[in-house]
């Protein structure tokens, strides 16, 4: 496909991901990619998460459908993998919790009967990794998040949209980042 470029896997902390609930499409085409816009203005069509898988359950009725919970220093991500994510589902089925995992996947949102919007991740791949990789991810995600917070003053349409929609204090996310980084010092 001409001009096709792979979507970058964004680095988002669980807290920010959980506080995101605005999705939009770029263009009217039915194949136009869907994006999740986060409070710091990240336009997310793919995420990379490295964290600790602490729970996993097969909640499927007929075929396997796995729900997993992956934590980072700020909270947890929900991931759902079924028959259309065979590689990820297989790793989920075989691994023992708790374990460090790296998940590359697509954000998805679900509206509950009460009208709350729940964000989750549909993994394209899920592999067991080590603790160092997890720490490197925390640092990298902190760096990328800080870059986004600092860019909140710019005039890009996505950032304006995020600011109007979430109306969030930057301080909220600055303290999230510093809390995440400080947790690394505690473990050492």
């Amino acid at each position: 496909m001409a001009g096709y470029t792979r979507e970058v896997a964004r680095r988002i902390f669980a807290q920010e991901f959980r506080e995101s609930n605005m999705t939009f499409k770029d263009g009217d085409d039915q194949y136009a990619p869907q994006y999740l816009l986060t409070p710091t203005g990240a336009k997310v069509n793919r995420v990379l998460i490295v964290g600790t898988l602490i729970e996993k359950d097969d909640i499927g009725t007929e075929s396997e459908y796995w729900r997993g919970r992956v934590t980072d220093p700020t909270g947890s991500f929900l991931i759902y993998a079924g028959q259309y994510q065979p590689e990820a589902a297989q790793v989920l089925a075989e691994c023992e919790t708790p374990v460090f995992v790296a998940v590359v996947g697509k954000p998805s949102t679900y509206t509950t009967a009460e009208g709350d919007i729940i964000t989750s991740v549909r993994p394209e791949s899920l592999y067991v990794v080590d603790g160092q990789t997890r720490d490197l991810w925390v640092i990298e995600t902190a760096k990328r998040t800080l870059e986004r917070i600092k860019a909140l003053d710019s005039n890009s349409p996505d950032i304006q949209k995020a600011k109007e929609y979430y109306n969030q204090e930057p301080g909220h996310y600055y303290s999230m980042v510093s809390q995440a980084l400080r947790s690394l010092n505690e473990t050492y």
Binding site: R6, E7, V8, S125, V177, L181
Partner: protein
């Protein structure tokens, strides 16, 4: 005007034709002063007149004069420029269209760039690994990349010197987020070294392939994506799997795919620093280093910048 006349006269002189300068001046004067022709147009018209008069080919007159500047490949950054490039043919590619005579990659000390020799250029053909001087080629931009077009006013001369192709080495640090199909244990065509798809080479059809290991990795640093090709020796060190052990692994499983699975399991989701030359969309890895550790000072700096509000 005197100067203009003199310029034209010297130019013809170089080609061995003596034209009385008075005659040139007279013609110019008539054009410019009587008929109000702009200077450049007048000059062209006068030159054309004498070219015809003395039966000189236009190319001969213009070749020396409108010589394009010679540039390094890394300096090709502007669309629509006419340039001369001296370089070595790094690769010739599959020709995808009948109006194209040859297409490939040319490189000099500063880098590499795609070139297209159009059929209509009727130019000399080039060979892989040989060096050439491309004169009067035009820079075009396509899909965000520059390319050189060799058209009918261009020329190709082979030169004897072997040009060292500089690899503009780039570094990319990020997470390997995927390994693409066509990785792991693959077979190559014994004639052209292309990777086979379903046991067949696109050029030579069904052939007895030769086994090889490679990784087509997708690296991602959270801001951009870099496709990377990791060849056998590096792939072996990285995955801890030799070609022989991969072959036997695949034989036991009756499936080549297990090698790719195994590589994904041990590599995807981890941080690496890759470096090597970038050719088209791929970075051809010359080194791949896993990253395990970080500096404590890095964390402290980030904390500091998070807490200065």
């Amino acid at each position: 005007m005197k100067q203009l006349a003199k310029e034209i006269s010297t130019k013809f002189n170089e080609l061995g034709v003596e034209i009385p300068i008075g005659e040139i001046e007279e013609r110019l004067d008539k054009m410019i002063n009587k008929f109000k022709v702009p200077k450049e147009e007048a000059r062209r018209s006068v030159v054309n007149y004498f070219l015809k008069e003395y039966d000189i080919k236009r190319n001969e007159f213009y070749s020396g004069q409108s010589e394009s500047p010679q540039v390094n490949i890394s300096d090709i950054t502007e669309e629509g420029r006419w340039v001369n490039v001296r370089g070595k043919i790094v690769q010739l590619w599959e020709n995808s269209h009948e109006s194209i005579s040859q297409v490939g990659l040319i490189g000099d000390e500063s880098g590499t760039v795609k070139f297209i020799i159009w059929e209509s250029a009727a130019a000399n053909s080039v060979e892989e690994g040989k060096s050439y001087m491309l004169r009067n080629v035009v820079v075009n931009e396509w899909n965000g990349r520059f390319e050189l077009n060799i058209n009918k006013s261009s020329s190709i001369e082979s030169i004897d010197k072997d040009i060292e192709v500089g690899n503009t080495t780039v570094d990319f640090t990020g997470v390997m987020v995927d390994i693409q199909s066509g990785s792991g244990l693959i077979k190559r065509c014994p004639q052209c070294n292309r990777a086979l798809t379903k046991g067949a080479c696109i050029e030579h059809g069904k052939v007895d392939g030769i086994y090889d290991l490679r990784i087509k990795a997708v690296m991602d640093d959270g801001a951009s994506v870099q496709d990377t090709i990791i060849k056998r020796d590096l792939a072996e060190t990285l995955s801890g799997m030799t070609l022989e052990s991969a072959i036997s692994l695949a034989a036991d499983a009756l499936d080549q795919g297990v090698v790719l699975e195994e590589m994904k399991r041990s590599l995807v989701g981890r941080y690496y620093k890759v470096s090597g030359p970038r050719i088209e969309r791929y970075l051809l890895a010359e080194s791949v280093e896993p990253i395990f550790s970080y500096e404590m000072t890095q964390i402290d700096e980030l904390i500091a910048s998070a807490e200065v509000i």
